[in-house]
């Protein structure tokens, strides 16, 4: 019998910097919220968010007054910016759920210090995403027509349509993300309740914490609940972008009608989501001095996930071009050539640079280990993924089967105002969250400390 393979005794990996205690971890994270002093960085970022949010409100006001014609959507490109932005935002949200649910089930401890703000990012990204299909309805105040309810018009939604599936998928995703995030917050809200000296804050956090007291009975049920919610959220997050991709694949528009869209969309979502996580984590940890909790290991791991999913996305582009040629279908063939050489060639080749070429630089440890470079890379990825959705939607619709209906899409200033406005909405909500709630899960970071390990005398 051959010798058994010896498993090398690996040193336990250091996830957070040494020297922390339960008390210092708690105080460092809670102080960001409980202090009276607000950093200039926060005021500046919140200010930018607020200004852009006002722009968004203006754009929505004009939209409601004049109708969707203020956007550049004209036959045949009726989806234009709205659906591009919807898919982009909802994709960004996916990384948060991946970190909080999938990495929990995979027992990846490093997630503990980034899951909270990543989940908040998910929530706010889904809120921004939801704005677009809603505003794109034309008469957003009638949105409830999308749900089945007994009505005097005697009509019902078409349940065989992917657009109705989307309504259910996205609203479920928003609800479950919120529940997961709130359940995760409860113990930390109790910490804030116990730490604050302000009566109003104590009352508010106390109500929100629901009387959490850290009882062992509660913790045992709580742990079961976390695992169950993670188990529910995992297939959910994969399903949401799959359903979003069904919006395209179920149609017969050339360049949309293909079976590899679901995995390709999910990978792209996680790719752009991790870019957003890095874009938020890198400045936050510097400003708030949290480099001991969000360490270089976290950035490195996130960059690796970005590299991995980026390669899947790159593979999908290559397959897309290959299928266009190999299918022998003249329309598929034409749309592929049109994308590369037609009116959207600039956008197409920029996205190739951003999503096929750029992620390969993440093989180098130098880039993964240099925060400002990584920040730059995540911006490149976010731009690349936006362009990807733009090219898929706009180029396919602008030049479809019928040559006589071809028309090139031109975005108007209101298209840009609405899009940039949702970035404002996102920043506004995110920085409010940073100021009012703990951005790192305090109780989960406590479990990472070496002191948290129980030493028992075994008799």
């Amino acid at each position: 019998m051959p010798d058994e393979i010896q498993v090398a005794d690996r040193k336990p990996e250091k996830i957070i910097a040494p020297g922390y205690t339960f008390g210092t971890v708690t105080d460092q994270i809670a102080t960001v919220v409980l202090t009276k002093r607000t950093p200039v960085f926060w005021i500046a970022s919140f200010g930018v968010g607020l200004v852009l949010l006002l722009l968004f409100l203006l754009a929505v006001g004009v939209l409601l007054a004049k109708g969707v014609g203020i956007w550049g959507i004209r036959v045949p490109v009726m989806w234009g910016f709205a659906i591009t932005n919807f898919v982009w935002w909802i994709g960004i949200g996916h990384a948060g759920t991946l970190i909080s649910a999938i990495l929990l089930l995979l027992n990846q401890k490093w997630r503990n210090s980034i899951n909270r703000f990543a989940e908040a990012m998910t929530l706010f990204a889904v809120a921004c995403a939801g704005m677009f299909p809603l505003l794109h309805l034309g008469r957003p105040w009638l949105f409830y027509w999308l749900f089945p309810y007994p009505n005097t018009m005697n009509v019902q939604p078409q349940f065989r349509s992917p657009l109705v599936w989307d309504v259910f998928a996205v609203s479920t995703y928003a609800t479950v993300s919120f529940l997961f995030w709130y359940v995760g917050l409860m113990p930390d809200l109790a910490t804030l309740r116990d730490r604050t000296h302000n009566r109003l804050a104590r009352f508010t956090y106390g109500i929100m914490a629901m009387g959490w007291r850290g009882s062992a009975r509660h913790w045992s049920i709580y742990e079961t609940a976390s695992l169950l919610l993670a188990g529910l959220a995992t297939p959910l997050v994969l399903s949401v972008h799959t359903v979003v991709s069904f919006d395209f694949t179920i149609g017969i528009v050339p360049g949309w009608h293909s079976t590899f869209f679901p995995p390709y969309f999910v990978a792209g979502a996680i790719y752009s989501g991790f870019a957003m996580v890095l874009a938020l984590a890198i400045p936050l940890r510097s400003v708030y001095g949290l480099k001991g909790l969000i360490t270089d290991t976290h950035l490195d791991n996130s960059a690796k996930v970005m590299l991995g999913t980026g390669l899947i996305v790159a593979y999908a582009y290559i397959m897309e071009a290959f299928t266009g040629w190999y299918s022998g279908n003249v329309y598929e063939h034409a749309i592929t050539i049109n994308r590369m050489t037609g009116p959207y060639a600039t956008q197409y080749w920029t996205l190739v640079a951003c999503n096929i070429v750029a992620p390969n630089f993440l093989w180098f440890k130098k880039i993964r280990g240099t925060p400002w470079l990584l920040f730059t890379w995540s911006m490149i990825v976010l731009v690349g993924m936006w362009l990807e959705r733009y090219v898929i939607i706009v180029s396919s619709l602008a030049q479809d089967n019928l040559v006589s209906s071809w028309r090139v899409f031109q975005a108007t200033r209101w298209d840009w105002a609405t899009y940039v406005g949702t970035i404002g909405l996102f920043l506004f909500l995110f920085f409010l969250f940073i100021r009012l709630l703990p951005m790192i899960s305090i109780f989960e970071v406590r479990t990472l400390l070496p002191q948290a390990k129980v030493e028992e005398e075994r008799g």
Partner: protein
């Protein structure tokens, strides 16, 4: 019998001491007790024999209910309430129902999970006697508590306090109602 106070509580400064104390208390025969810690401790769950809870069952029932409702809703609408005949295709087009059935399963499962968590924990409960102990504010920071409740049959104020003192805690105090 109404006792004038809720129980006695001992404070420890590390999780190992709390788990050891909970085990000893259990071996001594105490049953009506609870431990409080700033983060979940698996060994503590084990020491207090808390492994079983009905949450998975609640979530299963919730999820199945959601799935069934989702499917039946689509069946009712597309077959009975608002049938649309598209080239003679079957009205009961189950493959198209899969997505919404799945989403409704997840939605109801997750909602019943959260409601189940709150229900089984008897939360929200803004008031609880342990909050009367001033030091208890540290239970959400860096201190670990073991509370033996006055309703325990073995509870006797002197003896229980003496027992808790023997576990070498930082402090033992009485919990008022």
């Amino acid at each position: 019998m109404k006792v004038p106070f809720y129980g006695v509580i001992a404070e420890f400064d590390n999780p190992s001491a709390l788990v050891a104390a909970a085990r000893t208390a259990r071996e001594q025969g105490y049953r009506k007790m609870d431990a409080y810690s700033p983060f979940p401790i698996e060994e503590l769950t084990d020491a207090l024999h808390l492994h079983h809870n009905r949450l998975p069952l609640i979530v299963l029932i919730g999820g199945l209910t959601g799935g069934a409702l989702g499917y039946l809703m689509q069946y009712y609408v597309t077959v009975w309430d608002f049938p649309i005949n598209v080239g003679g295709r079957p009205l009961h087009s189950w493959p198209a129902y899969i997505i919404i059935t799945f989403e409704m399963t997840i939605l109801f499962g997750a909602i019943s999970c959260v409601l189940g968590l709150l229900g089984l924990c008897r939360l929200p409960q803004p008031y609880h006697p342990v909050f009367n102990v001033p030091r208890f504010a540290f239970a959400s920071r860096n201190r670990f508590f073991l509370c033996i409740e006055a309703t325990d049959p073995l509870f006797d104020k002197q003896k229980t306090v003496a027992f808790l003192e023997s576990l070498e805690p930082k402090e033992v105090s009485e919990v008022a109602h």
